[in-house]
Amino acid sequence: MSVVQPVLSVRDLRVEFVTRRGALKAIDGISFDIAKGEVLGVVGESGAGKSVTGSAVIGLIDPPGRIAGGEILLSGMRIDNLPPEEMRRIRGKRIGMIFQDPLTSLNPLYRVSEQLVETIRTHTNLSSSAARKRAIDLLADVGIPAPERRIDSYPHEFSGGMRQRVVIALALCVEPELIIADEPTTALDVSVQAQIIALLKRLGREHGTAIMLVTHDMGVIAETADRVAVMYAGRIAEIGPVRDVVQNPLHPYAKGLMGAIPSLESAADRLVQIPGSMPRLSAIPPGCPFNPRCPYVFDRCRVERPEPIQQSEHRVACHLYDQSSVRSEAVA
């Protein structure tokens, strides 16, 4: 694995939102890789920092946010400190992004053809007729029936599921190496969610695209992802191969998340409720951020921040797995 260069490599990334009450750490030192053709699932409660991570990678953190440390590498090239114009050329061309709500992701005043052709021509030097042909092929590829006819429709003339297919076509139109899909099916009807995920997975496989898939749906993760990262309060609690993490989670928070999944096959299971709620950014407790809710908490958790520890194929940030920790043998 480590011989081949990963498509995306995030190293100790930190993101802050500078407010009047000081800098709030939304992302506090996370690291992960995504290889070519690999799907990394990202889960965690709302506010864990999943979207901010995606925005940081694509260089679109909302003000007053900023990258405060670490680095982001795309196929080995550092992209977190590029000048804005160079980063713009990477967006849409080498990194595609899909947002949650297909109903609001498309500009209502322009035809689908105009939006596709505009994107294609921004990143290539195709003529507009060649770009249009490519756009029609893309729409066919994402499963829109009669694309030659539908391409000149306006977004509101498509159903939600079809619009999300258009959004996917827009994100993929210049064959990016990496796709960030931020809860791409949350706003959709349950009946079309599975189709959209299947589509994403197929396109990713066909083009060897690396995919970062943020979702609340553990069923989707279990079926689609190769590896999964569990985020909590701006950190990665646990990351590892999907079967291991889902069936044998190590981090107490991940255990809580996975605890209520009866089987991998039931796709509708959402994240279970763990007693308590995630702390606000301004009130993250010292030590392990999960300690107020953790059933295994011990003294060290309240003072010392747990660093990620490799445990076979998992990487887990919890003092329970630290050999130097006195309590480590007590749990198994």
Partner: protein, 326 residues
């Protein structure tokens, strides 16, 4: 869409009827029209004859219908002051007012949109603060004061621009235009600014607010994520989405611009319909007042209709009802 158009047209007719009633009522309640025509020592018999010849002894509804029918044909009666058909007087004055109103609207739209876009994109820049100060002036100073200040500065002190009148005009058919002579154009500048300043302020504020709103939307975020250039995002995607409210304001305000031209025309002695109206009020020249009222109402209503139709040109979502969903 058809039902919508018919409904709007019916509403428009309703509004015009109501204004017609008001205009008609002015004749009945603002003194006896016969007195305006005959002199003090006219014998009663002759007065009666004038009354009959004007149809004033018919039942009120008959008079009203006749008045409406005549108005629709463009016959608004004869001015008491000028002893000329009101329609001729209005037709003679209308080009001046329309040219002024159109110039003021163009001025306010161009500058309002430019300043609005700029201050929406550069929220904290120095120029934005300047624009906001100017807009505060535009909103808070009364029109006549702005006009007088401009006259003082550019006509009296600097002597660059004429302080009153239309300058030289050129006759094209029945239309007299000031747009083809240098003195006519110079004469247009200050009245247009005076008349347009308020709308400019309004448009600037709306464009700015809309721009800031639109830039926060998901489709702008997605446009950025697609790597479109800043120019395409700001001027292709964002600006177009602010156009619907701008069209509304520009359109709906055009009627007000014509109505408010009364003040500007008075300040600059601009020979338009507004000035004619003010003179009519001073001389209780009811036919002119009534005709002016109905004309302004007609313009308002026509513009409202045009704006509704323009919406559907800009925003495809409003067209759905006429299209077959595929």
């Amino acid at each position: 869409m058809l039902a919508f158009t018919i409904r709007r047209a019916l509403q428009a007719i309703g509004v015009l009827l109501a204004v017609g009633i008001i205009a008609f009522a002015m004749f009945r309640f603002a003194g006896d029209p016969v007195n305006q025509i005959v002199s003090l020592d006219t014998p009663a018999a002759e007065r009666e004859q004038v009354r009959r010849s004007l149809g004033l002894d018919d039942p009120v509804p008959v008079q009203f219908v006749r008045y409406l029918a005549q108005s629709i044909q463009g016959d608004f009666g004869v001015s008491y002051q000028f002893r000329q058909p009101v329609s001729d007087l209005l037709a003679e004055r209308m080009p001046a007012t329309l040219e002024l109103a159109i110039c003021a609207t163009i001025f306010s739209t161009v500058f309002g949109v430019l300043m609005g876009v700029y201050s929406g994109l550069r929220r904290d820049s120095f120029l934005t603060k300047v624009f906001q100060t100017v807009s505060l002036v535009g909103i808070s100073l009364p029109t006549f004061l702005i006009g007088i200040l401009l006259i003082y500065l550019f006509a009296v002190t600097l002597g660059w621009l004429p302080s009153y009148g239309r300058g030289d005009t050129v006759q094209i058919g029945w239309w007299s235009t000031g747009l083809l002579t240098v003195s006519g154009l110079k004469a247009l500048i200050m009245p247009s600014i005076t008349l347009g300043l308020f709308q400019m302020t309004l448009i600037m504020r709306i464009v700015r607010a809309e721009m800031m709103e639109v830039l926060r939307t998901d489709y702008i975020k997605f446009a950025r994520a697609r790597g479109l250039t800043t120019r395409a995002i700001h001027f292709g995607h964002a600006l177009k989405n602010t156009l619907v409210p701008v069209i509304t304001i520009v359109g709906l305000q055009f009627g007000s611009v014509i109505a408010f031209a009364i003040i500007t025309e008075t300040v600059f002695q601009w020979p338009g319909m507004g000035l004619l109206f003010v003179q009519a009020v001073q001389n209780v020249d009811i036919p002119i007042m009534a005709a002016y009222l109905m004309l302004v109402a007609l313009i308002f209503v026509a513009i409202n209709l045009a704006v509704d139709i323009l919406y559907t040109v800009v925003d495809p979502r409003l067209r759905t009802t006429i299209r077959q969903p595929t």
